[in-house]
């Protein structure tokens, strides 16, 4: 190994007084070699993003500041360079790629002009040379029809195309270092796979050093040369990718890797000739846009002729990318949204034919667990009331309802005393447990879980999944499990329905879908799962 292009020594980032800890980053030392991808991995709040931002001096607020350490870039210390020099470095020698390309791009400027602005600031090329350079670069990041993209506005591109444009902008001046902060987290798996391979190709071509920040070990396995793991502002382990992924030393890294769900489906449960509890046929929903005076509205068919069967005690996974209609379907089945047509038979009764006013007895049989543990609990009420409310509406006597709340809280692994506290006092994982307790309060037969773990950190995710599986087995619940994450689906579901553009393209037992996918799209999805070639070692603990 040669000399590193970037060397961070003993970096300290302090937080304003009154925060839950004094330092966001404490004593982090890292080296980035030329021509390598270093992945900085950690859960939310680990200080990984702040470490990266400290390098280019982009702190989120004046109260968060670097309080110690050195950041050596070549023969300069980035902590002490002038503001003018820092501006010169940013963009031309160190550039950044952000998580959300829609907010990182100016919506009022064409892609071409935004990239052009960067060149204008840093070089003295003529307009013609610049345009040539940009078009060539857009071709490099494999954007179709670069000339058209040059004149397009950000909202006219898809998420993946925007991220490609961002990458083009970052690589424009051939920087020595690219800092990529969760660049694929907001993208669908198939797009993510393309972007990751693009980054890898370009990195090899230009010999760039990439500092890649992520929380996803699958992505790490896909792209990393070396890995650094952070927790609570401290670096816990640094090493070669193969070593960390297959033989992690630190207990924290071990627990993180153990929490990554395996892509190999779990052993199938004794399958069923259990009776069919829910049967969906010919379900349709279209969304119209355009108002009173619009000539013709747009018509989007979110769910097209969907048919499903869910047996008692079975877990059916619905997987698909964003916009595939999987969430809409969940909302149609719980009747949060009215369907345009079709049948949803619950034990033989078509609930779509039941008038809204008389839905109550059916509502309690199908309950929902939501994605966002922060938005799904009313911040104004105590936990006990949130859980008890449904029971009281359904005629349970007040005292009995609150007694049941205590049982439910214990069932989901919380102390019964938390009933007296407000939702904001809990962490994401705990709130999701409260959400599960609320869904269970009405003794439902079917639990519809819409991405219940995708807002959670991987270690918490594993706990919540375990909880859902336990409860399902104990209460013999049927579960409709909506997810975009095939790893999670492999571990939780008995059978799987793959959705694309409102249609179910494949439906079968989990093992069969994973081992022998019939539809091309399913194959594409499976091929795109990051880190598919890596099987997390099953470690103790």
């Amino acid at each position: 190994m040669g000399s590193p292009i970037l060397e961070i020594r003993d970096l300290q980032v302090s937080l304003p007084a009154g925060s839950d800890r004094t330092h966001a980053v404490e004593g982090v030392s890292l080296r980035l070699e030329p021509n390598e991808i270093l992945c900085l991995v950690g859960e939310s709040g680990s200080g990984k993003s702040l470490t990266a931002r400290a390098i280019v001096g982009l702190m989120p607020s004046p109260h968060v500041r670097i309080s110690g350490g050195h950041i050596r870039f070549g023969d300069e210390d980035l902590r002490s360079v002038s503001a003018a020099r820092m501006r010169q470095i940013r963009g031309s020698e160190i550039s950044m790629i952000f998580q959300e390309p829609m907010t990182a791009l100016n919506p009022l400027m064409t892609i071409g002009n935004q990239i052009d602005e960067v060149i204008q600031v840093h070089t003295k090329l003529s307009r013609k040379q610049r345009v040539e350079r940009i078009v060539e670069l857009l071709r490099d990041v494999q954007l179709p029809d670069p000339a058209a993209i040059f004149g397009a506005y950000p909202h006219q591109l898809s998420g993946g195309q925007r991220q490609r444009a961002m990458i083009a902008m970052a690589l424009l001046l051939e920087p020595k270092i690219v800092i990529a902060d969760e660049p694929t987290t907001a993208l669908d798996v198939t797009t993510q796979a393309q972007i990751l391979s693009l980054l890898k190709t370009l990195q090899a071509k230009h010999h760039t050093g990439i500092l890649f920040i992520t929380h996803d070990f699958g992505v790490v396995a896909e792209i990393a040369d070396r890995i650094a793991v952070m927790r609570m502002g401290e670096l816990v382990e640094v090493g070669e990718a193969a070593q960390i992924l297959n033989a992690p030393q630190h207990p924290y890294t071990q627990s993180l890797i153990a929490a990554v769900p395996s892509l190999v489906p779990r052993k199938p449960r004794p399958a069923g000739d259990a009776p069919v509890l829910l049967e969906v046929q010919g379900l349709n929903k279209a969304y119209h846009s355009g108002g009173l005076f619009a000539r013709k509205g747009r018509n989007v068919r979110a769910v097209k002729d969907v048919a499903l069967k869910l047996r008692r005690g079975e877990t059916l996974g619905v997987v698909g990318e964003s916009g595939s209609g999987k969430s809409t379907m969940a909302r149609l089945i719980t009747r949060l949204t009215e369907a345009d047509g079709g049948q949803i038979r619950l034990d033989g009764t078509d609930i779509l034919a039941v008038p809204r006013k008389r839905m109550r007895p059916y509502r309690k049989r199908v309950q929902m667990v939501f994605q966002d543990p922060y938005a799904s609990l009313n911040p104004r009420y105590k936990v006990g009331r949130l859980i008890a409310e449904g029971m009281i509406i359904h005629g349970v006597e007040r005292r009995a309802a609150y007694e049941r709340v205590h049982e439910l809280l214990e069932l989901v692994g919380l102390d019964a005393r938390v009933a007296e506290r407000y939702p904001h006092e809990f962490s994401g994982g705990q709130r999701q447990r409260i959400g599960v307790a609320r869904a269970l309060a009405l003794d439902p037969e079917i639990l519809v879980a819409d991405e219940p773990v995708s807002a959670l950190d991987v270690s918490v995710q594993a706990q919540v999944l375990q909880l859902l599986a336990d409860i399902r087995d104990r209460l013999n619940l049927s579960m409709l499990f909506i997810t975009h994450d095939l790893r999670v689906a492999a571990q939780v579901c008995d059978s799987i329905a793959v959705m694309r553009r409102g249609e179910i393209v494949e439906f079968g037992p989990t093992e069969q879908v994973f081992a022998d996918p019939r539809h091309d799209y399913t194959r594409e999805l499976l091929d795109s799962v990051p880190g598919k070639g890596w099987n997390a070692p099953r470690l103790a603990g």
């Binding site: 009173l292 949060l336 509502r363 309950q367 929902m368 938005a375 799904s376 409310e389 959400g435």
Partner: protein
């Protein structure tokens, strides 16, 4: 609550406003004790200068200006308060229904709201009072009718945003009735902007009432600040105090309420202020 007061009191001018407001309220409560006589009764010579027998002098008919201000405080505050309450009630009902149900209900209610907003509010208030004949009730109704659209739009916006939140969907999912969801689940979550708007509306209502009384459209049986300014305007150059003191009373009260409203806003949204 303690925390709330701490954040409120960080804004000095809001505390000053609150003190003035408390003083005005005390004046209104104590008016019958301080000046037990009818404020319309003639107590001395006309146009006596301040501090010559009467604290704030007398007006063109010899009525005590200080007594008028004290009794007028009660009228101004009560009209401001009631008109705001009525406007809030209408605005919240309409805004909540529009935001919660959406679709054609929203369209219909919002077109209605816009219809009211297109008419200049003070002219509309004059028209309403003139039709209904001036009295405290008709003034309250007129002010409420011209001020509810603001509340309706605000509440609709909040409801539109909160309606899609998952906690509301969870309530639909357990079979909760719409009325219960609107009143117990969504409304408590948008109380803070409503309270802030409401406090500022009290100030506007007081101004409209003063304006109406100034034009002679006030209730003829009660003393009000606007009426006093209107009655004294002809002698502005010879007896300035007849207009000036009730004018200052209006100014201070409206200013105080505005400051308190600002303070409430800061206290409800502490993050906005710390930026």
């Amino acid at each position: 609550m303690k925390e709330f007061w701490k954040r409120f009191s960080r804004n000095r001018s809001a505390v000053a406003g609150l003190l003035i407001l408390i003083a005005v309220i005390l004046l209104a409560i104590l008016a019958p004790i301080l000046y037990p006589e009818d404020p319309f009764s003639l107590v001395g010579l006309p146009m006596v200068e301040p501090f010559e027998g009467f604290l704030l002098g007398t007006d063109i008919l010899g009525r005590n200006v200080a007594a008028g201000i004290a009794h007028g405080a009660k009228v101004s505050l009560l009209i401001g308060l009631f008109a705001t309450l009525v406007a809030m009630l209408i605005g919240i009902l309409i805004g909540a229904a529009a935001g919660y149900y959406g679709g054609w209900i929203d369209d219909a209610l919002m077109r209605l709201t816009e219809l009211f907003q297109t008419i200049p509010s003070f002219l509309f208030a004059i028209l309403l009072v003139a039709i209904m004949t001036p009295s405290i009730e008709s003034i309250v109704i007129a002010i409420a009718v011209v001020s509810w659209p603001t509340v309706a739009r605000l509440v609709r916006g909040e409801f539109l945003a909160l309606r899609k939140r998952e906690f509301v969907e969870a309530c639909v999912g357990v079979g909760m009735s719409d009325w219960r969801i609107i009143t117990l689940q969504i409304l408590p979550n948008c109380l803070s902007p409503i309270i802030v708007t409401g406090s500022l509306m009290v100030a506007t209502a007081i101004l409209i009432e003063s304006g109406l009384s100034f034009l002679g459209l006030g209730d003829p049986n009660v003393m009000s600040w606007g009426f006093m300014v209107g009655a004294g305007r002809t002698v502005l150059r010879s007896a300035w105090w007849v207009c000036a003191f009730p004018g200052i009373a209006i100014l201070l009260t409206v200013l105080a309420i505005n400051l308190v409203g600002e303070g409430l806003n800061d206290a409800f949204n502490p993050r906005l202020r710390n930026r």
